[in-house]
C-alpha cells in the first residue's frame, strides 16, 4: 500500500507575474478576462512568478497577493523564481515553492476575445509544473454514436471513424475527425482561441471554438460534405476548404 501513498500527477496552472499585481490596470484587465470565461477561472490554481520582483519578503505580502487573486475567483497555490528570503516568507504563508522557472512561456496564451496581446493577457499564461504541458491526445477509433459525448480534457481529440448526428465531441485542444462529422464538435472548450477543428467531411450540427459557434444552417452550404478546417480568425469562426 505504501507505494500508493504518493502518486505523481501533472497539472496545468496559470502563472501570474508578481509585478503585475501592483498595476491598477491589471486588476481591471483580469476582471474582464475572468468575466469572459468564468467557469474556466473558477478556483483555478495560480503560481506567482517572483522573477525580478522586489519585495514579497513577508508573509503578509503573500497573504495580500492571495487575497487579491481570490477576489477574481483564483487560488494562489505557490511561487516560483523566489529568492531565499522570499522562499521562507512564501512557505510561512502556506504556499508551495516550485522549482526555478523551467517552463517556457506557452504559445497558447489565453487571449480570450480581443486577439490583441494586452499587458494582462500576456501576463497570464498556462504553464505546466513540469515540462510536458499536455496529456497525450485522446484517440477514438470506433464510430461515435448518437447520444455519446467524448471529452478530451486538457488535450486534443482525434477520431478516425464517423461521428453521428446527436453525438458530441469536446476537447480543450484541437479536434480532428478523419471521417464524416455529423454531430457537434466543440474545440478549445476551456477558452483556447487557438484551437481548431479539422474534418474530412463536414456535415456537423454545430461547430464551436472557445465558445463561438456556428449551427448547421450557418455553415457555408458549398462546404458541406467537404474536407475543411475551422479556426477562429478575428473572433469569427472561419471555415476553410482543405
Amino acid at each position: 500500500m505504501a507505494g500508493n501513498l504518493v502518486q505523481g500527477a501533472l497539472f496545468t496552472v496559470m502563472v501570474v507575474r508578481a509585478g503585475m499585481l501592483r498595476d491598477t490596470a491589471f486588476e481591471e484587465e483580469l476582471q474582464q478576462q475572468v468575466g469572459r470565461s468564468p467557469r474556466f477561472f473558477l478556483n483555478a490554481p495560480v503560481v506567482l512568478d517572483l522573477k525580478d520582483s522586489e519585495g514579497f519578503t513577508t508573509e503578509e505580502a503573500f497573504l495580500d497577493a492571495g487575497e487579491a487573486l481570490r477576489r477574481h475567483t483564483l487560488a494562489l497555490v505557490g511561487v516560483q523564481n523566489a529568492l531565499p528570503e522570499q522562499i521562507s516568507a512564501a512557505a510561512g504563508a502556506g504556499l508551495a515553492v516550485f522549482a526555478p522557472n523551467s517552463t517556457q512561456p506557452s504559445r497558447r496564451a489565453v487571449q480570450a476575445g480581443t486577439g490583441q496581446a494586452t499587458a494582462a493577457s500576456a501576463a497570464i499564461m498556462p504553464a505546466a509544473i513540469t515540462q510536458s504541458a499536455r496529456p497525450p491526445a485522446r484517440l477514438v477509433t470506433e464510430p461515435v454514436r448518437s447520444g455519446t459525448q467524448i471529452y478530451a480534457r486538457g488535450t486534443d481529440l482525434i477520431v478516425t471513424a464517423a461521428v453521428s448526428a446527436g453525438a458530441e465531441l469536446v476537447a480543450d485542444g484541437h479536434i480532428h475527425v478523419y471521417a464524416a462529422l455529423r454531430g457537434r464538435a466543440l474545440a478549445g472548450a476551456s477558452g483556447d482561441v487557438e484551437a481548431r477543428i479539422f474534418c474530412s467531411r463536414l456535415e456537423a450540427e454545430l461547430v464551436s471554438i472557445a465558445g463561438r459557434y456556428l449551427v448547421s444552417e450557418q455553415l457555408p452550404p458549398e462546404q458541406r460534405g467537404s474536407a475543411v478546417h475551422i479556426a477562429l480568425v478575428d473572433d469569427q469562426l472561419t471555415v476553410t476548404k482543405n
Binding site: 447520444g147 455519446t148 464517423a162 446527436g166
Partner: protein
C-alpha cells in the same frame, strides 16, 4: 458461424442470446423477433422468444398463443412459477417456444439478477434465446440488450429511426455486459424493415446505402413493406412461416445470413414492369 442443429448433444453447444432492438417504436421489432425465432426453429434450432416489453405484452398475439398464457416472465423472475410452467410450445414447430411477459406489471419488475438467472436456465435448454426489446432506451430496453451475445438492430429507412438505431448501437457498445467485462463486443447486425423500393426510388425514403453509410454495421437483410406482415400479425402467424410472401422469404434469407450463409440481397429494387409484361399487358 454455422451452428449445429438441436439434434446434437447439448453439452457442446453454447446458447446464444440475441436482442432484437431499435430505440424507436413501431419499426417492427416484435414482428422481427417472431419471424426470426420461427426462421431459426425452421432451420432446426431449438429457439425461445422472450417478450421484454413488460406491461405492453404483444408477442403472444403475434405468435398466436395469447389464449394459452398462464404464467409469465415476471412470475418466473419472482420465483412464483418455474420455467416450464411459463414456456409455451408453438403448435406449428416443435423447436419453437414462446415466453410471454406480464401485462399488469411494468419494466421495473425486470430485475437484472432475476433476468440473468432465467437466461442461464434457458441456455441449458435452447440454442437461441431471442429477446424482443421494448422501444426506448430506458431500463426495459437496456435490460433486454444487457446480456446479449448478438443484436439485430431493426431500422426503417427514415432519418428518425436511423438516428435512434445509432443511439442503441452506442448503448450496446458501452453498456452491455460484454462491454462492461471487456469481452468481445456484441455481434451487431442491421435489419432494414418496411423497405419500399418504389418510394426509395422517388427519394421519399432513405436507400439501403444511405442507412448503411450512417450506421456502418453489417446488413443482415432488407424486409420489403408488405401486406403479408400485417396479415401475419393479425392472424398470429410469424411471417417467416409464410414462404409465399416476399417478407417471409426476406426473413428466411436474413436468418440464413445470420447463420453464416451467403445469400444475395433481394427486394431492394423496385419491381419493374418488364418489356414483355407491358407488351402483353400482364400485371
Amino acid at each position: 458461424m454455422t451452428r449445429p442443429g438441436a439434434a446434437r448433444g447439448r453439452e457442446d453447444l453454447v446458447a446464444k442470446v440475441v436482442a432484437i432492438t431499435s430505440g424507436k417504436g413501431g419499426v417492427g421489432k416484435t414482428t422481427t423477433a417472431a419471424a426470426f425465432a420461427a426462421g431459426l426453429a425452421l432451420r432446426g434450432h431449438k429457439t425461445v422468444v422472450i417478450d421484454f416489453d413488460v406491461g405492453l405484452r404483444n408477442l403472444d398475439l403475434v405468435m398466436g398463443c395469447e389464449r394459452r398464457v398462464v404464467f409469465d416472465f415476471i412470475n418466473v423472475i419472482n420465483g412464483d412459477a418455474n420455467l416450464n410452467q411459463a414456456l409455451i410450445k408453438d403448435k406449428r414447430n416443435d423447436n419453437l417456444y414462446i415466453f410471454p411477459t406480464s401485462q399488469t406489471r411494468d419494466k421495473d419488475a425486470l430485475k437484472r439478477e432475476g433476468v440473468e438467472r432465467v437466461l442461464e436456465e434457458l441456455k441449458q435448454q435452447f440454442d437461441f434465446i431471442i429477446c424482443d426489446s421494448p422501444a426506448g432506451i430506458e431500463h426495459g430496453a437496456v435490460t433486454a440488450l444487457y446480456f446479449a451475445d448478438a443484436a439485430i438492430i431493426v431500422t426503417n429507412p427514415e432519418v428518425s429511426s436511423v438516428r435512434d438505431s445509432d443511439r442503441i448501437i452506442g448503448i450496446l457498445a458501452s453498456r452491455s455486459r460484454r462491454a462492461e467485462r471487456n469481452e468481445p463486443p456484441v455481434e451487431t447486425n442491421l435489419l432494414l424493415t418496411r423497405y419500399d423500393p418504389a418510394r426509395v426510388a422517388k427519394g421519399e425514403m432513405l436507400t439501403v446505402e444511405d442507412v448503411q453509410e450512417i450506421l456502418s454495421v453489417p446488413l443482415l437483410g432488407v424486409i420489403p413493406e408488405s401486406e403479408s406482415v400485417l396479415r401475419a400479425s393479425n392472424t398470429g402467424t410469424p411471417v417467416a412461416f409464410d414462404e409465399d410472401s416476399p417478407a417471409g422469404r426476406a426473413y428466411l434469407d436474413a436468418v440464413a445470413r445470420f447463420l453464416g450463409e451467403q445469400r444475395e440481397m433481394r427486394f431492394v429494387q423496385p419491381e419493374r414492369r418488364g418489356f414483355f409484361r407491358v407488351l402483353f399487358g400482364r400485371a
